[in-house]
Amino acid sequence: MATKTKKKPSKKNLTTPRMERCIGCHSCSLACARIVHKRLSWDTAGIRILSSGGLSTGFEARTCLLCDPAPCAEACPTGAYVQRKGGGVIVKKKLCIRCGDCAEACPVDAIYLDHTDEPFVCIHCGRCVPFCPHDCLEMVKVSAEPAMVSVE
C-alpha cells in the first residue's frame, strides 16, 4: 500500500451507497487514519463510523457528501480548504490556522477536529475502499450521477 498518491488528482469520489451492509468493523476509518493521516485512531479519519441509535439499528458513515459549493471551503479564511471539482474540498494543510470554522460550517459533521483543532476530512482518495469487507463504499466517477448516500 503506497503512502502517497502518485497518480494525477483523482477523478473519482468516495460514496457510501451500501451502508446498510456495514458491520461496524471500523476497517475503513482505521485505514484512513493509518494510511492517509499516519495515525492510530478512530477519529482522525475522513470517514468515521457511528452506531445509529445504538448497535441494534446499524451504522452510519460520517464522511464528506461532496457539497458544491462546499460550505467548509467558503468558511475557510485562509484557503486551506478550496472547492474541489465534482464536490468536496482540496486540502492544503500548510495554510490551515486551525480555526475550526470548516468543521462548524459542515452541515453533516464530516470534519473532525482533533485536540489541537487540526481538521480531518475525506479527500476522496479511495484508500479506505479495499478494506471494507462488505463493499459498503464505492468510488464513482465525478461525471457520473450525483453521489448517493444509500441506494439499498
Binding site: I23, C25, K38, R39, L55, S56, P133
Partner: protein, 585 residues
C-alpha cells in the same frame, strides 16, 4: 501507544479517584492474559474472598490491540465468585480498541462505590457517576440509558451488568456493547459487589504512527489473509452455529442434560436453519473485518390485532447448545427467545442453560419439586425455560439463588451430583470425549478455549495419556501468547508464530518478537501460579458420573483413561506452576 512498560489506570471506587501507574513487564508478560495475571499478583489478594472490597477487577489489552485486524479482544481478570479462585474471561466488542484509544494497557478497579455507579473514562477524563436509578434495570434498558448519558457514539464501549450481577450470581456476566460478554465464572457479580453497574470507555485518543510504510504493508497483507481467503469462511458464513450439525453427527452434541449426544431433532436448530429463518445481519468487533457476530431476530405478538415487538438476539454455537439441545428445545425462534431473556438478566448463557438442564432432570427424578423450580420444567418446553431463566437471573427463591452459585452447589444440597454436567464449571458444548472432559475440568478458564482438547478428541482415538497431556500443555502455551496480544482465537490459523513476530517487529516490540517462546512459557506459568495461589487443587476436581455414561464416535467413554488423563494433566499443571520464570534475552 508503543511503550516498554504498561500504562495502567487504577481506580478506587471508594474514593471515586484514580491514578495512572507505569508497570514493568512488557517484555516478559506482554499484555492481555499475561498482564491480567501480573496485575492480579500486584493488586489482588489471594487469601481474601472474591468480594473483598480490595479485590481488583482487571481489564487488559495487548501490544497488538488495534494495530492489526482481529487483535480485538479484552481480557478480564478477577477472583471468581464461582470457585473463589483466580479467573479470566475474554470478550470482543469495542472494549479493546476503546482501551487502546483511551491510551491504556489496562484498567484496575478496586474498592466499593458508595452508591450504584457508572465508571466513565477516556484519554482525557475520569468520572464516577451515581446511577442509583439504574440499579435493577435489565441489560437492555441500562444500555439505552447509558448510551443516552454518554457521548462518543460508535467510538466508545459500554459494559454493564444486569440483575444477575447485582444479586451476586456466580453465573453473572458483564455485557459488552450489547452483543458480546465477559461470560464465564461470574465477573458480573464482581462488578455487582463493587456497586458498579457500568463502565463506559471513550476511545478518544489519537496516536502518531512513526514508521508507516512497512507497517501499513503488513497490515494490508494480514487483512487480505483474513478476508480474501476462505480461512475465515466458517466464522462469517454460518458462523460457529455450523458446529451444531457436525457435532451432532459425530455424537458429540450434548442433548437433554447429556442424556444423549445426538438426535434427529437437530434439523430445527442447525446453523443453516438459523441462517435461513432467523438471521438478520452480521456485525463485527471493532478492528475485525470478519464480522462473525450473527444477529437473529425474534418477534412477539403482544395484542391479537397483529401488534408485534421485535428484538435482535446474537447467536453462536455455544448459546444454541446451552438453550437448545441441552434443554431439548428444537425450534430456532424458541431458542432465541430463551437467549433473549438470558441477555436481559445478564447471565452467562452456557452456565444458565446447563444449570437448568440439571434442574429439569432433578425435577423429573423427584429430587426437587415445583416448590423449588416454581415452574414445571420439562425438556423442550421453551416458554417455561424463559420463566426459569428469569428466576435464575433474579434469584427468585432459595433454590434459584443456590443454583446460580453453581449446579454442583445445588446438587450438594438437594442431591443429583451424578448428573450435574459440570467440568470445573458448567460444561461447554463438546461431548467429544475424554481429552475434552479432562481439559475443561482442569483448564484455567474451564473453557473449551483453554486448549484444543475438543479438536484432539475428534482426530485421535488412541489412549496415549502422555501424548494427550503434552498436547494440552503445549497448545495452551500457544494460546496464552495469542490471548496476551490480545487476538481473537478465531484468527489462530492466520496468526502463526512467524506472523506474530513480524507484527510485533513492525510496530516496534522487538524484544517480545525475539523471545516469544520464553514469554509464552512465562505467561503460562504465571497464570497457573496465580490460580494455585488462590486455592486450586486439580485432584479436588471431580468429573460427574454422567460424563462417563456418554458414547461418542469413539465409543463409550473409557473411565480409566479419563481418570488417568485428569490425574496426569493435574500433575503437570502443579509442576508448571512451580517452575521458575524463564529469563528473557
Amino acid at each position: 501507544m508503543i511503550r516498554d512498560h504498561f500504562r495502567v489506570l487504577i481506580v478506587d471506587l471508594s474514593s471515586g479517584r484514580g491514578h495512572i501507574e507505569e508497570v514493568d513487564g512488557r517484555n516478559t508478560e506482554a499484555g492481555g492474559s499475561g498482564l491480567g495475571a501480573l496485575l492480579y499478583e500486584k493488586y489482588g489478594h489471594a487469601e481474601q474472598p472474591w468480594n473483598h472490597p480490595d479485590q481488583p477487577l482487571i481489564l487488559a489489552i495487548g501490544p497488538l490491540t488495534g494495530y492489526f485486524p482481529l487483535m480485538s479482544k479484552t481480557v478480564c481478570a478477577f477472583k471468581s465468585p464461582y470457585h473463589d479462585q483466580y479467573a479470566e474471561s475474554h470478550a470482543g466488542g469495542r472494549s479493546a480498541l476503546a482501551l487502546r484509544f483511551a491510551d491504556l494497557d489496562a484498567l484496575v478497579v478496586t474498592g466499593v462505590a458508595r452508591n450504584p455507579s457508572c465508571l466513565s473514562f477516556g484519554s482525557k477524563h475520569l468520572d464516577l457517576v451515581d446511577v442509583a436509578y439504574m440499579w435493577g434495570t435489565d441489560v437492555q434498558a441500562s444500555g439505552k440509558l447509558l448510551r443516552q448519558m454518554s457521548g462518543g457514539s460508535g467510538h466508545r464501549s459500554i459494559l454493564r451488568i444486569g440483575p444477575a450481577g447485582e444479586t451476586g450470581s456466580a453465573m453473572a456476566c458483564i455485557n459488552v456493547d450489547t452483543y458480546r460478554h465477559f461470560g464465564r465464572l461470574g465477573s458480573g457479580a464482581v462488578m455487582g459487589s463493587k456497586n458498579l453497574k457500568a463502565i463506559v470507555i471513550q476511545g478518544d485518543g489519537v496516536f502518531p504512527l512513526k514508521e508507516t510504510t512497512k507497517y501499513s504493508k503488513l497490515f494490508s497483507e494480514v487483512h487480505k489473509k483474513l478476508t480474501a481467503t476462505d480461512m475465515m469462511m466458517k466464522y462469517h458464513s454460518l458462523g460457529t452455529a455450523s458446529n451444531l450439525e457436525s457435532l451432532n453427527t459425530m455424537q458429540s452434541l450434548p442433548w437433554r442434560n447429556l442424556k444423549q449426544t445426538t438426535d434427529p431433532a437437530i434439523e430445527g436448530i442447525t446453523g443453516q436453519k438459523f441462517a435461513d429463518d432467523t438471521l438478520l445481519r452480521s456485525m463485527a468487533c471493532s478492528g475485525c473485518p470478519v464480522g462473525c457476530i450473527h444477529m437473529g431476530f425474534v418477534r412477539e405478538k403482544f395484542r391479537k390485532e397483529n401488534r408485534y415487538v421485535y428484538r435482535q438476539v446474537s447467536y453462536d454455537y455455544e448459546p444454541i447448545f446451552a438453550t437448545g439441545s441441552m434443554l431439548g428445545v428444537t425450534d430456532a425462534f424458541a431458542v432465541l427467545n430463551i437467549m433473549d431473556v438470558v441477555e436481559k438478566v445478564g447471565l452467562d448463557v452456557m452456565s444458565a442453560g446447563v444449570a437448568l438442564a440439571w434442574a429439569t432432570e432433578a425435577l423429573e427424578k423427584g429430587i426437587i419439586s415445583e416448590e423449588e423450580t416454581l415452574v414445571a420444567l420439562r425438556f423442550g418446553e421453551a416458554k417455561t425455560y424463559e420463566e426459569a431463566v428469569r428466576h435464575l437471573g433474579t434469584g427468585a427463591n432459595d433454590f434459584y439463588r443456590l443454583l446460580s452459585q453453581g449446579t454442583l452447589k445445588a446438587a450438594g444440597h438437594y442431591g443429583g451430583s451424578d448428573f450435574a454436567c459440570v467440568l470445573g464449571q458448567e460444561m461447554g458444548g463438546y461431548a467429544t470425549g475424554e481429552v475434552y472432559f479432562a481439559a475443561q475440568s482442569l483448564g484455567l478458564r474451564h473453557s473449551h478455549l483453554d486448549s484444543g482438547g475438543y479438536s484432539y478428541d475428534q482426530k485421535h482415538d488412541d489412549k496415549d495419556v502422555d501424548k494427550a497431556v503434552d498436547f494440552l500443555v503445549s497448545d495452551e502455551q500457544g494460546r496464552v501468547f495469542l490471548t496476551s496480544m490480545v487476538a481473537c482465537l478465531f484468527a489462530r490459523g492466520v496468526y502463526t508464530d512467524e506472523l506474530l513476530a513480524d507484527c510485533l517487529r513492525a510496530v516496534g516490540y522487538h524484544p517480545l518478537a525475539d523471545n516469544m517462546e520464553a514469554v509464552s512459557q512465562n505467561i503460562q506459568r504465571l497464570r497457573w501460579k496465580t490460580r494455585f495461589a488462590t486455592g486450586f487443587d486439580p485432584q479436588g476436581v471431580k468429573i460427574p458420573k454422567r460424563f462417563t455414561e456418554v458414547t461418542t464416535w469413539k465409543g463409550p467413554i473409557d473411565q480409566v483413561f479419563l481418570e488417568t488423563l485428569k490425574r496426569e494433566y493435574g500433575k503437570r499443571l502443579v509442576e508448571l506452576a512451580k517452575e521458575e520464570k524463564v529469563a528473557s534475552e
